[in-house]
């Protein structure tokens, strides 16, 4: 069962969005998030929804995948909604016990919830259409200008690469240890939360030991393959900006300009 796990939430595809340079996609996501904070009314939000809907349509990733990303933060959205609903002063619309709902509160509640939802969907579009490895390469490349300021761009990217590579290995290791402990009568399923947490100790200790052993072996294998940090290193798949990347860049600038214009003029 562990062999089937997918890394990240990449949705395989060959769409225009999938094939964009990862750097462009990361920048686009950041621009989109910034634009969401530029928006101050529902017209702005509407433009943002339209832009996102267009990109999602081009990416051909089913909407259900997008919405899946909302599940873990549903509570946060609800909390923001309720908080805004009751806490903003203004013209009173309704009164429930000691709580009052104002017109401004209702407006802000919907506005903030919409902003949050767009924020999540916008960023999950990035991870849905970009392979974790390309994402890593993109982050390394985007951070490399800051290397002079002491940002360890290559090291961060290498750590992400190795982490991605070893997730399945460590899961397999965990599975092995659990089975070995179960074979000797360990019980992970019964008892209350504290008991169950305690029963995890005999898994975690050997898992940590084996993680350190793996790290040591990997370090030696990397050294044997002449790894000496980012210096002198070249890449097989050097990233190259293509026409579609520039087109995306222009669309992105137009979108941001539109959002700013909407805020200033309307």
């Amino acid at each position: 069962m562990i062999r089937d796990i997918t890394l990240g939430q990449y949705f395989p595809g060959k769409s225009w969005v999938h094939r964009l340079d990862p750097r462009i996609k990361i920048i686009a996501t950041l621009v989109y998030i910034a634009a969401l904070f530029v928006a101050h009314d529902f017209l702005g939000i509407l433009i943002a929804v339209g832009a996102l809907a267009m990109v999602i349509a081009i990416s051909r990733v089913p909407l259900s995948f997008m919405l899946r990303g909302l599940k873990p933060i549903f509570l946060i959205i609800l909390f923001t909604f309720v908080l805004n609903l009751f806490m903003i002063p203004g013209k009173v619309m309704a009164r429930i016990w000691i709580l009052t709902i104002t017109e401004e509160g209702l407006y802000m509640a919907f506005f903030m919830a919409a902003r949050l939802i767009l924020l999540i969907i916008g960023s999950s579009l990035l991870t849905l259409t970009t392979k974790p490895m390309s994402l890593t390469d993109g982050i390394e490349s985007l951070l490399s200008p800051f290397r002079k300021l002491g940002v360890p761009a290559h090291e961060l990217a290498m750590m992400m690469t190795i982490a991605l590579r070893f997730i399945p290995t460590l899961l397999e290791e965990t599975d092995k240890i659990m089975k070995a402990q179960q074979a000797r009568g360990a019980d992970f399923e019964s008892g209350n939360i504290i008991r169950r947490a305690k029963s995890l100790i005999p898994i975690l200790v050997p898992l940590f030991i084996s993680a350190f052993r793996i790290a040591q072996e990997l370090a030696m294998a990397m050294e044997a393959r002449c790894y000496r940090g980012g210096k002198y290193r070249t890449r097989m798949n050097a990233m190259k900006l293509e026409a579609r990347d520039f087109a995306a860049l222009i669309l992105m600038i137009l979108f941001l300009a539109g959002m700013i214009a909407e805020r200033i003029l309307l």
Binding site: A221, R225, R228
Partner: protein
């Protein structure tokens, strides 16, 4: 024939962590490996064979003595990358030496570290993957492959550095019989293509496929010679808790019963052929 590796009076000591005791893993070993040869180094656990392999790759440095790889002294820090490029290494556990979650990116890791041009890396990666017969799996994730396939990826990663010599440190120890066979046949192919092969193993059947067998025992070289020469010392080998190949054992027993079997017979096929013609 020129020398690939020259080891002179190598001693390697380390401090055991449990009790701070000084242990000599290698005690005065001298060994020369010629370019283009296929040498197997065999010994049981703790004989110092893996430590010897790591000394060849400058992953460990001699306590005393010298190790030359392709003319470079491993103790000289400025030559370490030349050494690791000319004598690549493949380790025991296929999982713990693969760096990337895409097969072809992993094979590219070595040449990328060497600063090879991108188009050249692409060519090397494709060639290496074809050499180990894994080209069709180049886009896959390593954790979906079998042990033997993963080990072949690790070998491709070593070949992509275009080394003259590859040191295999028990490459088949964690594989099933099928994976073991796949890896052994690739090792033999690489040797035929001119790469110097040093195979560290504890399977005598694998060592018997080399041109030369070096048996290590307690940090020293106990026996050294062609398989035929080495297997003449059947009793000494068994005293070191190692097995001789079945054919060698059989010929020893037959010889004891007065049947004259030539000493260069070490494989089952040769034995069968000889016995069928025996009158």
């Amino acid at each position: 024939m020129s020398e690939m590796i020259r080891i002179e009076n190598l001693v390697f000591n380390y401090t055991r962590e449990q009790d701070d005791e000084e242990i000599s893993a290698i005690r005065d070993v001298s060994l020369t490996v010629n370019k283009g040869s296929f040498t197997a180094i065999i010994g049981r656990n703790g004989s110092g064979k893996s430590t010897l392999a790591k000394n060849i790759n400058a992953l460990l440095l001699p306590s005393s003595g010298v190790v030359y790889v392709n003319g470079y002294d491993t103790a000289k820090e400025e030559d370490v990358w030349n050494i690791r490029q000319s004598a690549a290494m493949v380790f025991q556990n296929p999982d713990n030496q693969i760096v990337s979650s895409i097969v072809e990116d992993d094979v590219a890791f070595g040449p990328e570290n060497l600063g090879v041009e991108p188009e050249q890396i692409r060519k090397r990666v494709d060639d290496s993957l074809k050499a180990v017969n894994m080209y069709q799996h180049r886009k896959k994730a390593p954790h979906l492959l079998s042990g033997g396939q993963k080990q072949r990826i690790a070998i491709a990663g070593a070949i992509a550095m275009r080394p003259e010599c590859i040191v295999f440190d028990e490459p088949t120890a964690m594989l099933d019989p099928k994976g073991r066979e796949e890896v052994m046949s690739i090792i033999k192919e690489l040797h035929q293509e001119g790469i110097t092969v040093v195979l560290i193993t504890h399977f005598m059947e694998e060592a018997a496929q080399a041109e030369r067998i070096v048996i290590m025992d307690r940090g020293k070289i106990a026996l050294d010679g062609t398989p035929g020469e080495v297997f003449l010392h059947r009793d000494a080998i068994q005293e070191m808790n190692l097995d001789v190949p079945l054919a060698v054992e059989l010929s020893w027993r037959l010889r004891r019963r007065g049947i004259d079997i030539p000493e260069d017979i070490i494989s089952m096929e040769e034995m069968v052929e000889f016995l069928c013609q025996y009158k």
